[in-house]
């Protein structure tokens, strides 16, 4: 599942999931903010979530906490422009499993997702 308030980023991650380098993954849902993400995750129960942090309505940190409580088996990869160490540590503390800084290239995203693949 892809969570990002940017449509272009959601599209990009979805294309990478479909290009054959992540053969065991298919996108089961997309969300543009944390509130949508919780709804979609409750319905689709994703194995892996890519999670932006700066989003309207419910930000990524709150969403990570909600998903970690709701679906403890789900792996969460934060994909965010916020590149300071404290943000990364806080996200991990809320229940995220990995952190990828924006901007990223295709190889970096694929590698980060493969590391968290269930």
């Amino acid at each position: 599942m892809i969570v990002d308030d940017s449509m272009v980023i959601r599209n990009r991650i979805e294309r990478l999931c479909a290009d054959g380098r992540l053969p065991h993954l298919s996108v089961v849902g997309r969300a543009a903010d944390g509130v949508q993400a919780v709804e979609v995750a409750r319905r689709e129960r994703p194995d892996l979530v890519t999670m932006d942090l700066t989003m309207p309505h419910m930000d990524g940190e709150e969403c990570i906490e909600a998903l970690a409580g709701l679906l403890p088996e789900t792996r969460i990869l934060v994909v965010s422009a916020l590149s300071d160490k404290l943000t990364a540590l806080r996200a991990i503390g809320k229940g995220a499993h990995g952190f990828l800084h924006k901007p990223f290239n295709d190889d970096q995203l694929v590698e980060a997702m493969l590391e968290l693949m269930p």
Binding site: V8, T54, K102, F104
Partner: protein
């Protein structure tokens, strides 16, 4: 609120952020030129086809605006693999660029810098709310043969 001008070190962080963005995403570096102060009475003079605005609060107050022509953003969208080049896609990507540039800057200014989700608009259809008292800086850049600007308007809170 103190009126505090950004230092040359601060400006360098924004310039590095621009270089890093284009180098990572497109494998082609942007040529970032010297920053200059904008005349507040004449602003906005660098507003281009599309503008992505990040509002900053906390340890600093103000805004960051990435302002770019349609052609530059179309090229970035194509590099990202995007097939659709609608106005919505251009507004989305200009906001995403502003968001990405601001994120790296937070590492320099510290965790006390709070960054809003981006707002995007086309041309001069909307003005950026003036949150800082000091004059804004424009950091011009050239990527391929396109010109764009990052406008930094920040005070220390």
């Amino acid at each position: 609120m103190n009126s505090h001008r950004l230092t040359s070190d601060d400006i360098e962080v924004f310039s590095e952020s621009i270089s890093h963005f284009f180098a990572t995403l497109t494998e082609e570096r942007a040529n970032v030129r010297s920053a200059y102060l904008l005349d507040e009475h004449k602003a906005p003079i660098v507003w281009d086809d599309f503008n992505g605005v990040i509002t900053v609060q906390g340890s600093h107050v103000g805004s960051l605006t990435f302002s770019a022509p349609r052609a530059l953003l179309s090229h970035v969208l194509l590099r990202m693999g995007e097939k659709q080049l609608s106005d919505d896609h251009h507004r989305d990507v200009v906001g995403e660029i502003a968001n990405t540039l601001s994120g790296r800057v937070r590492r320099h200014f510290g965790d006390g810098l709070r960054i809003s989700p981006p707002q995007s608009f086309s041309g001069q259809s909307q003005r950026v709310e003036k949150l800082a008292r000091s004059a804004a800086y424009a950091i011009p850049l050239r990527w391929k043969h396109y010109e764009a600007n990052l406008v930094v308007h920040l005070d220390v809170a």
